[in-house]
């Protein structure tokens, strides 16, 4: 199957599934033969959003309007190369690239939402991270691990995050694998895209 035929098949399947799941067999414009598959998908999505405004939660777009988010790496190169033809492993498609980018972005954007919100940080004094670190400036994730004598040990980024949460933000320390901590780390690291690693730098 050619790539564009694949996309068409996916798009039509999505539309049918969406129709079955959400029962949109009633109103709504039908795809015309002239529309591209992408346009059909976008059209159906727009129609669904219009019918379900309370469920259409554009939190990613809203957060990106408020705060600059560094984009994740451009993976277009994985689509090139010659070895991939006809294989399962080592063979990547545009869809993969899209999914990687979208899911990564969601965690980073969620981190931005928490970073900028004293309540979600669990803080009790109305202080959020951005009050000292606008756009995560001066967080320097690229310098961890480093020995921090005032913490008595070698700190990882998450240790410093927790120190800030406990002291200036005056909240409870987050478990290192909690969703909030993972999101915060993701956002902070993302904002320093391109900086070279220099662990131990004070």
């Amino acid at each position: 199957m050619s790539p564009s035929a694949k996309v068409l098949a996916v798009a039509v399947t999505c539309a049918i599934v969406a129709g079955l799941v959400f029962g949109c067999a009633e109103e709504g414009t039908r795809p015309s033969a002239a529309q591209t598959p992408e346009a059909i998908v976008a059209d159906h999505m727009a129609q669904w959003k219009a019918r379900n405004p309370d469920r259409a939660n554009p939190w990613v777009e809203e957060e990106k309007q408020r705060h600059k988010i560094q984009p994740s790496a451009d993976n277009a190169d994985v689509l090139k190369g010659e070895q991939a033809a006809g294989q399962t492993y080592g063979n990547y498609t545009q869809r993969d690239v899209l999914v990687w980018a979208r899911e990564t972005e969601k965690l980073v954007v969620e981190g931005s939402r928490i970073f900028h919100n004293a309540g979600r940080l669990g803080g009790t004094v109305g202080v959020s991270c951005d009050m000292c670190h606008p756009d995560a400036a001066n967080t320097h994730p690229e310098t961890y691990p480093k020995f921090q004598p005032q913490m008595g040990r070698v700190a990882l980024l998450r240790d410093m995050i927790n120190w800030c949460i406990q002291h200036p933000v005056r909240g409870k320390a987050l478990a290192p694998d909690s969703p909030e901590m993972r999101a915060l780390e993701a956002y902070i690291v993302a904002q320093r895209k391109g900086e070279k690693l220099d662990y131990g730098k004070h």
Binding site: H67, G126, C132, H133, P134, N138, H140, W163, C164, H202
Partner: protein
């Protein structure tokens, strides 16, 4: 006693004896001259702390001394108060600044407050700030910041402090206070509540808000207010936003800076003192010398781009000391209107950005360099 085997302590005491001994031999008048020169040298090297007491590092050889200032005023800025029982630290820091200023001897001519007294512009926050500032012994002159304004568009501010834009004269210097955090309406189209509008503005990096500006009405007012002044008049303009364009993302920015600077262009020299940036900041654009104010609440990092060349950064604050990078300070005003800007950083030695520094474009009276600059 064998002088061949001197301990470190003996050597140290001998050196100190040499230094003070050279002063002992001067007659009183020469002594005063030397110590004044040394003091000036210390000032030139950014070593002079505020006037209440001046521990002098005796400098050997004095570079160009600065003349004595005509008068002094103190400043406190950017306290970002919450209710005391929500956030004790910000209130405590403002009280500390008030205590600092009250302990200056002699007292400054007045105390200037640089804006952002409240964090979210709430009535009880502004009341708390006004109440704390009432404890100042010297007279208070106050300026508004965006955190004070955008909850109720200045209603509470006006009731407490009067009009945000005004001017006065003091000992031959003309002072102007601008409301330079005007923002184009971004809230009506989005249907934001007043608190949502305030919280948007309160986010330094929140891109939904508009850029700060002075606006055409105030620019017209400014032209009129300055009309009678001759070109050589000493002039100091207070503004919350910097009145130049440093970094748009954080509103270290005034959209109509060029227009405002044009109004100020005819003067021999103008000093602009601004809040909002919570850091040591120095700039010179033509005839205008710009100085930033410290915050009592927290320090901002330096902007990733757009930094003025003249700025010698304060060392990156230590997060383990919540007062580091914060403080208050003084402005020593000279007869020509130029100033020595003193940053009284808590738990650090004060840093002086002398008039000779901005006057010489950064060649003389260079303040000390940071050992931990931002990066």
């Amino acid at each position: 006693m064998s002088s061949r085997h001197k301990s470190v302590e003996t050597r140290y005491l001998e050196e100190r004896q040499r230094v003070f001994g050279s002063l002992k031999n001067l007659d009183r008048r020469s002594f005063l001259k030397v110590s004044a020169a040394a003091l000036a040298a210390a000032a030139a090297n950014g070593l002079v702390p505020p006037a209440s007491f001046m521990p002098v590092s005796v400098a050997h050889g004095a570079p160009e001394a600065t003349d004595a200032p005509a008068f002094r005023f103190a400043y406190i800025s950017d306290s970002h108060l919450y209710a005391k029982d929500l956030n004790d630290r910000f209130a405590r820091a403002l009280m500390r600044a008030v205590d600092d200023v009250n302990n200056l001897a002699p007292q400054p001519d007045f105390v200037f407050y640089g804006g952002d007294l409240a964090q979210l512009g709430q009535s009880h926050e502004l009341d708390l700030g006004a109440q704390i500032l009432k404890n100042l012994k010297a007279p208070l002159k106050i300026m508004v910041g965006e955190h004070d304004w955008y909850l109720d568009m200045g209603a509470k501010w006006r009731s407490l402090f009067g009009e945000p834009t005004y001017s006065w004269d003091h000992k031959g210097v003309h002072f102007v206070v601008l409301m330079s955090v005007v923002e184009k309406d971004f809230w009506t189209a989005r249907g934001l509540t007043p608190m949502q509008r305030m919280q948007t503005v309160a986010g330094l990096d929140n891109g939904v808000q508009s850029s700060f500006m002075v606006g055409p009405e105030q620019r017209a007012w400014l032209e009129k207010d300055l009309a009678k002044l001759p070109n050589n008049a000493p002039l100091i303009v207070f503004s919350h936003s910097p009145l130049y364009k440093l970094y748009k993302n954080w509103n270290f920015w005034t959209d109509d800076a060029d227009e405002v600077q044009a109004i100020l262009k005819r003067f021999d020299r103008v000093v602009v003192i601004h809040g909002h940036t919570h850091q040591l900041l120095t700039n010179r654009i033509g005839n205008i010398h710009f100085h930033g104010l410290l915050s009592t609440a927290w320090p901002w990092p330096y902007a990733p781009q757009g930094m003025p060349e003249l700025t010698i950064q304060m060392s990156r604050p230590d997060p383990f000391n919540p007062n580091d990078g914060c403080g208050d300070g003084e402005v020593h005003v000279h007869a020509d209107g130029l100033v020595d800007k003193i940053y009284n950083l808590w738990n650090r030695n004060p840093i002086t950005v002398a008039k000779g520094y901005t006057e010489s474009g950064g060649k003389k009276c260079v303040p000390p360099k940071p050992n931990r600059p931002g990066y």
